[in-house]
């Protein structure tokens, strides 16, 4: 289980710098270093087991439903990377203590750094693909924070954004690739994936999965053509560059390739893609590095070139090449991290990184210069240093491969070419900075840095020397166990010694050394040659691309979302037409085999009335009152149709709703313009008619097709159980209050909410009221006619009686709470119309909001009541009783539920209409408001 602590300790360590920041810079650094130091110690305790070839695994359940585990594994490769991350991380913490100025927030910097360290450890120790990816993304985010640490600098922000975009996009590709691998293998467990290499390689999805995984690796490791982000990430503080962009993050892509080496490598596709990418990156990086006048720019391109070298080695497909690649990972991390730190010191002490101004620093900082020169010599591949050993192995491997068939000779030649430039830029780093005359116009007088700032470099340079002189003793075990993990089995014999005899690889090294010096000597001619090419700034190109994409998205978004409701509706209706018409095209026979009902005169007459009034509504829609009248005719015919086709409940409901709707719309029309201006162009009208007719046609056809086919319905259940189960003979009402009572409960809730929403909208509404009709005639003075008053008053008890009757008989005959509620509401509204609000107010003191709540509550309590009898919500109960004089009668709990429905419907309807009606009276102005 202690394996969990290795990534967990730095994660906890994120808090350490935040809290210790106030106690001074040194304490902050020490507090920060504690967690990784402990983790490093724990890692070293595991070394013996790992060197024996064991794979340590620790896991706990994470999302068991998805088969996900939080799982860590430690093998040779993970050990090597964890060692680099923790070891170099500790040195960076020490270095940053002196690098950061007192103006920088040290706590924040260290917290980001620890976050990044956690993420990196998570990647290398993960035993689950998705978990690995999660940490992978975490490195992108934490590196974004680190690169933009000096967020007041434009290049810092832009560089960070570019790095995040490129590596983040690569991360998405990686996720897709990992999911594909998981699909092929059937498990996201890394252990299983690594054992099923053949299954993956033989899968038809292999090329896609490989491409996506490599995309992730190449973007992270700055491989051509994604290399451009790395030089711009150099805007970061130098400790970040030294840590992220030499030793760890950019190596994550390399790690990924090494990790999946047993599962993905070995095919022709792998060899071609990885080798050529690595080769192109190697050459491009080495060549460009020579022309960079910025110290960190030179190192950045050199890093790109070395990453290309490792990629090339991993791509060649031979076991020895892979071992050489791993060896170079170690060596590159040590010499490049120390070079970055040296560059940071030079920048820190002189105030510039421009090599055209930095000259002759040897006199000012001999100690730092010595360290930097040794590291640079290792980078160039000088014997007795670690860089020489891995480069020698690299040369030997390029000679043995047959990647490009008969053109394979090109690879050693190009490798030598890259090595020549590598020698030249290393020489430039040494000679230009420390010798080559006097410094030119430096902002500061250079001097040696604080003592402890040099310690990390000394340690790393010491390692370069030790590995270079006693390779087998220092890194033999580490390299062997890492190679064992990458190759997934036995490691072939290889020799880690300085002298392999006088062979072709040595000749290549000597040639590279000699020609490198020659090139450096003639650098001015080369600079002149290079200056003929227009320099392209990757940042500008990148920004332009991003802006293009943003503009494109804005244009698409504005096309669909231009603020015009008509356009949205048009698009919506188009979609409806397309999606509903498509299946209709496949229906061959419109009419089914169900016998149709015979036509008769009444039906035809009603249909003609309906069609005519519907069309009239459209034609006269600009005369709003007329269209309202024709609309109400349509509603009447619809309710007659319900009655005709055996739906008395619907007919009653439709009729009463029709009354309230028309009253509502007439009231509303009082406040709205009386006429609609002619606005639509003829082409718009034609377009709308077209789409409307298309949808109408599709729906009519669909309707006809359904009606002429018999179908199996669940309704037989309701018919059969209405009487015995629900105790009522009106199946529609029993469904409403019993079988599907929960639905009804939801409906009355919606009704209540709508009414309350309307109440809120009416509240403090600004309205303008016309003083007369459209032709300028004044409203009648007699607003409450005598006849209407008398008739309505005498109608009220009758209407209430009818609604009570309809309510009570609802369970067995057409009727029920909805219909009775609407009838009661209409009766009361009639009183409002006949007598006015002022007359009603003292006589009918009902708070409609409360009434809605009470209605909903009664229904809810009825439903909850069944819990008392250990029944589910809304189970109904009924029984028959006998009373003298009255006879047999029935009591059902459903009637209480229906009462709730009744009260809610009455209150909601009245809340809407009475409040709207009040607008006409209380604020009625004498003249029309001028706008």
């Amino acid at each position: 289980m202690s394996l969990f602590w290795i990534p967990l300790l730095p994660a906890l360590g994120v808090l350490a710098p935040i809290f210790s920041d106030r106690f001074g810079r040194t304490s902050c650094a020490f507090a920060t270093a504690a967690a990784p130091a402990l983790a490093l110690l724990m890692l070293l305790f595991k070394a013996p087991a790992v060197f024996r070839g064991e794979t340590l695994i620790a896991s706990v359940e994470w999302v068991p439903a998805l088969g996900m585990q939080l799982s860590f594994r430690l093998d040779g490769l993970a050990f090597l990377f964890a060692l680099l991350i923790l070891g170099i991380g500790l040195l960076i913490i020490l270095y940053a203590r002196y690098y950061l100025s007192s103006k920088d927030s040290m706590g924040k910097f260290y917290a980001y750094l620890m976050l990044f360290m956690t993420a990196m450890l998570g990647i290398v120790l993960s035993n689950n693909l998705i978990q690995l990816w999660m940490f992978w993304e975490m490195t992108s985010i934490s590196s974004f924070l680190l690169i933009s640490f000096w967020h007041n600098k434009t290049e810092g922000r832009k560089g960070a954004r570019m790095a995040l975009t490129v590596t983040g996009a690569g991360g998405l590709a990686l996720l897709a690739g990992l999911i594909l691998i998981g699909k092929i293998v059937g498990s996201y467990d890394l252990e299983v994936v690594l054992q099923n290499g053949d299954l993956i390689r033989n899968s038809s999805l292999y090329p896609v999965a490989l491409g996506l995984v490599l995309l992730g690796a190449f973007t992270k490791s700055a491989q051509f053509p994604f290399h451009f982000w790395l030089p711009h990430a150099m805007a970061a503080p130098t400790p970040v560059s030294a840590y992220l962009h030499s030793a760890t993050m950019v190596k994550a892509g390399i790690f990924l390739m090494a990790r999946f080496y047993p599962a993905l490598a070995g095919t022709e596709l792998w060899v071609i893609v990885v080798t050529l990418t690595g080769l192109a990156t190697l050459l491009l990086g080495a060549y460009t590095a020579l022309f960079k006048h910025d110290l960190k720019g030179l190192l950045a391109y050199s890093t790109i070139s070395h990453l290309g070298l490792i990629t090339l080695l991993l791509g060649m497909g031979t076991e020895l090449a892979a071992i050489a690649g791993i060896f170079h990972i170690i060596n590159h991390a040590t010499f490049k991290a120390s070079l970055f730190m040296a560059a940071g010191i030079i920048d820190h002490e002189t105030g510039t990184r421009d090599m055209r101004r930095l000259n002759g620093l040897w006199k000012f900082m001999p100690h730092t210069a010595t360290l930097a020169m040794v590291a640079a010599a290792s980078m160039a591949g000088v014997p007795l240093l670690n860089g020489f050993l891995s480069k020698e192995m690299f040369f030997a491997e390029t000679l043995l491969q047959h990647t490009l068939g008969s053109l394979s000779w090109m690879i050693p030649v190009l490798a030598t070419l890259a090595a020549i430039f590598s020698v030249a830029y290393s020489l430039r780093f040494i000679h230009d900075v420390f010798f080559n005359g006097e410094p030119i116009d430096l902002p500061k007088t250079p001097h040696e840095p604080p003592r402890y700032m040099k310690v990390p470099i000394e340690i790393l340079v010491g390692l370069c020397l030790l590995v270079g002189i006693f390779p087998a003793f220092i890194v033999g075990g580490l390299l062997h166990s890492a190679s064992y993990a990458v190759l997934g089995g036995e490691v072939p014999y290889y020799s880690l010694s300085i002298w392999h005899g006088f062979n072709l690889a040595l000749v290549m090294s000597i040639v590279a050394m000699f020609l490198g010096v020659v090139i450096y000597h003639n650098r001015r001619k080369l600079f002149k040659f290079q200056s003929q090419f227009p320099e392209t700034d990757a940042k500008l190109v990148f920004e332009r691309l991003i802006q293009c994409m943003v503009r494109g998205s804005v244009r698409i978004q504005q096309f669909f979302e231009n603020g015009s409701l008509q356009r949205y509706l048009f698009l919506l209706f188009m979609m409806v037409a397309v999606f509903s018409a498509k299946p209709m095209l496949q229906l061959i026979n419109t009419a089914g085999d169900r016998p149709e009902l015979p036509l008769n005169g009444i039906a035809i007459t009603l249909a003609v009335i309906l069609i005519f009034s519907a069309v009239a509504t459209v034609i006269w829609h600009r005369q709003r009152y007329i269209s309202l009248l024709t609309l109400s005719v349509v509603g009447l015919v619809v309710s007659v149709a319900f009655a005709y086709f055996s739906a008395p409940d619907l007919a009653l409901t439709q009729l009463s709703v029709e009354v309230v709707t028309v009253i509502l719309l007439m009231l509303a029309l009082f406040f709205l313009p009386q006429q609609t201006p002619k606005e639509s162009s003829p082409s718009r009208v034609a377009r709308d008619l077209g789409i409307a007719a298309l949808i109408g046609g599709v729906f009519a056809t669909l309707n006809y097709a359904i009606m002429t086919r018999s179908g199996i319905s669940i309704s037989d259940f309701f018919i059969d159980n209405s009487k015995p189960g629900g105790g009522g003979t009106n199946a529609v009402n029993v469904i409403l209050v019993d079988f599907r009572g929960f639905d009804t409960f939801g409906e009355i809730l919606v009704l209540g909410i709508a009414a309350l929403g309307i109440f809120k909208l009416i509240n403090r509404m600004k309205v303008s009221m016309p003083s007369g009709d459209i032709k300028g005639r004044n409203w009648t003075k007699d607003s409450h006619p005598m006849i209407l008053r008398t008739v309505s008053q005498s109608l009220l008890p009758l209407a209430l009686l009818v609604s009570a009757y309809i309510f009570l008989r609802g369970h067995n005959m057409p009727g029920g709470g909805f219909i009775a509620g609407l009838i009661t509401a209409v009766a009361i509204i009639l009183q409002y119309i006949a007598h006015g609000v002022d007359w009603i107010k003292p006589r009918l003191k009902i708070n409609y909001q409360w009434a809605i709540a009470i209605g909903v509550l009664i229904s809810a309590v009825t439903g909850v009541g069944s819990w008392l009898f250990d029944r589910p919500f809304l189970t109904s109960w009924f029984d028959y009783f006998h009373l003298p004089w009255i006879g047999e009668f029935e009591l059902a709990s459903a009637i209480a539920f229906d009462l709730g429905v009744y009260i809610t419907v009455v209150a909601a309807t009245l809340l809407i209409l009475a409040n709207l009606g009040k607008l006409t009276t209380t604020h009625r102005p004498t003249v029309e408001e001028k706008r």
């Binding site: 008509q566 009902l597 509303a668 709205l672 609609t676 729906f699 009414a755 009416i762």
Partner: protein, 118 residues
């Protein structure tokens, strides 16, 4: 009979959709109501058409399908609530924005005179 019914549904749908695509609020409300009729009739007819067979147990031998009727019954009431909400929203919109265009503003390319814009 079925064909006639389907024709009515089609005409109501066409009229409703056309009215919903208009630019002023009141025609849109009318369109919604028309479309509401069409949808209710459509849903109702999924229980197939039958005459003189109301689903009152014991009144006839064959019963009309009660389930679509129950669904449409609540749909009618909810439809009223929605119509009311939209029409009040239209009034509020006119009060707050000064016009009854569905977008809350008259498009600039409109050829209306200032008087008509109100």
């Amino acid at each position: 009979m079925e064909m006639l019914f389907a024709l009515c549904v089609g005409v109501l749908t066409t009229c409703g959709v056309f009215m919903i695509l208009r630019s002023r609020t009141f025609p849109v409300v009318i369109g919604l109501t028309l479309l509401g009729y069409a949808v209710n009739l459509f849903l109702f007819s999924t229980g197939r058409l039958s005459i003189n067979s109301a689903a009152i147990i014991g009144s006839t031998t064959e019963y009309a399908d009660p389930l679509p009727q129950a669904l449409v019954l609540t749909a009618i009431v909810i439809g009223f609530a929605m119509t009311a909400f939209v029409v009040i929203l239209a009034m509020r919109g006119r009060g707050d924005l000064g016009n009854d265009h569905v977008d809350g503003r008259i498009p600039e390319h409109s050829s209306l005179s200032d008087k008509e814009r109100k």
